[in-house]
Symmetry: C2
Subunit: 212 residues, 2 copies
DNA sequence: GGTAGATGCATACGCTGCGTATGTCAATGA
DNA sequence: TCATTGACATACGCAGCGTATGCATCTACC
């Protein structure tokens, strides 16, 4: 068979390295993942890694970028499906909690990432998610659904809250029950932002799209 | 001069190791802190470290325990000074944001700690802080000040929110302005928990004990 | 289409840093 | 005073990272 074009081979190598690293980082963690081991698992050596990503950190960045892109896409879909802006906002927060329950995301993006690469708010991908929520909050305040606060600050608070909720659920002995509690509490907290006149706190909270 | 009693020498050695490690972890971070270097800085060797703390992780645990004890003490004082339970709750959250701005706390407790030792909610010291806030929320709900939600879940959300706010402030180009925004938004979010009848949202929010 | 240059990736080497095994000396207690 | 415990240092081995170098293959230009 004829050889594939070089650019395609390169992309494949990069993808293999990212996939192997993602698996290793997600299971044993960044610090305990041996570059020799997981490059070998991909049928390569550290030479390829250093060539493409500079160092171990560079590879972690690439892995996180990939995962983050997937997360953003999933959140985008959730938002798109929601009937109202407010409902989309609630759904997005809950979806974020659910995603952060996945061990790979927890380990790589939420734990090792910040420790190795520094503050996540300066990552390009993370900024996309934040920007979306900020804009959403701004519009919600503008249309009078929620009280007027600094939208970016509120977005930071909400992201932090949901993130921590995920970690809490993940380590809880009964994740099912804990998850319900967390989601209920999250709704209560978010509904506190509603202006009292337009949308009083509803008994039982807003409906849950996933029945969790 | 006569030698100090042995137990005193031992405590001193432990204290010196913890102090040296704390300085190293707080500046260059856990991963880049060489045990040879900071034990030497304390006038000791790795032998002492392994004898007292087992390994590098054990020393990190000890450092975190020390910092956490200091944090809890500071929070306790803030709570004690507050005129009402609700005000104490607000003040505590703000104090938490302020503390998490300190580089040493951020680096050691908030970033490296979780990455190296795993979920913070399973740390004994962290649990103390959480337990206090949970109890506080339970009482606030009981006395009818805030809406009824699962107090533990809500505490987790609030801690996560404030924690993330700190990280956000720390990396912001203008921490002063950002800090004000974050604190305002935090108050708005927390005041959303108040039951509408007893304590309507007050123009300007609750007073700020530190004038930030 | 043949040759020169560039580039993807492997191999080889040195260095740093952790953990353990062993040694030594001082303090305690009978 | 002597035996024993325990605090701490020293010595060694090993894993893992980063770099320098080498090789083979693809592209570019004439």
């Amino acid at each position: 068979m004829a050889h594939k074009p070089r650019s395609e081979m390169i992309a494949e190598t990069r993808a293999k390295l990212i996939a192997a690293a993602r698996a290793a980082f997600g299971t044993v963690g960044y610090a305990d993942a041996s570059m020799d081991d997981f490059t070998a698992a991909a049928g390569l050596t550290r030479g390829a890694l250093y060539h493409h990503f500079g160092d171990k950190k560079g590879l972690l960045q690439a892995v996180i970028a990939q995962i983050d892109a997937e997360m953003n896409e999933r959140l985008r879909i959730v938002m798109q499906k929601a009937p109202t802006r407010w409902q989309g906002f609630i759904d997005e927060s809950i979806a974020y909690i659910e995603m952060a329950l996945e061990p790979e995301i927890q380990r790589i993006v939420l734990r090792d990432g910040p420790a190795v690469l520094g503050d996540p708010t300066s990552w390009p991908s993370q900024n996309a998610c934040l920007r979306d929520m900020t804009e959403n909050l701004r519009l919600l305040a503008e249309e009078g659904t929620i009280v007027a606060t600094d939208p970016e600050a509120t977005a930071q608070l909400i992201i932090g809250a949901t993130l921590n909720a995920s970690l809490w659920i993940a380590k809880a002995p009964d994740p099912e029950v804990t998850s319900k509690k967390a989601i209920q509490a999250t709704k209560a907290l978010l509904e506190g932002l509603l202006v009292a006149s337009s949308s009083p706190r509803i008994e039982g909270g807003s409906p849950n799209i996933r029945g969790i």
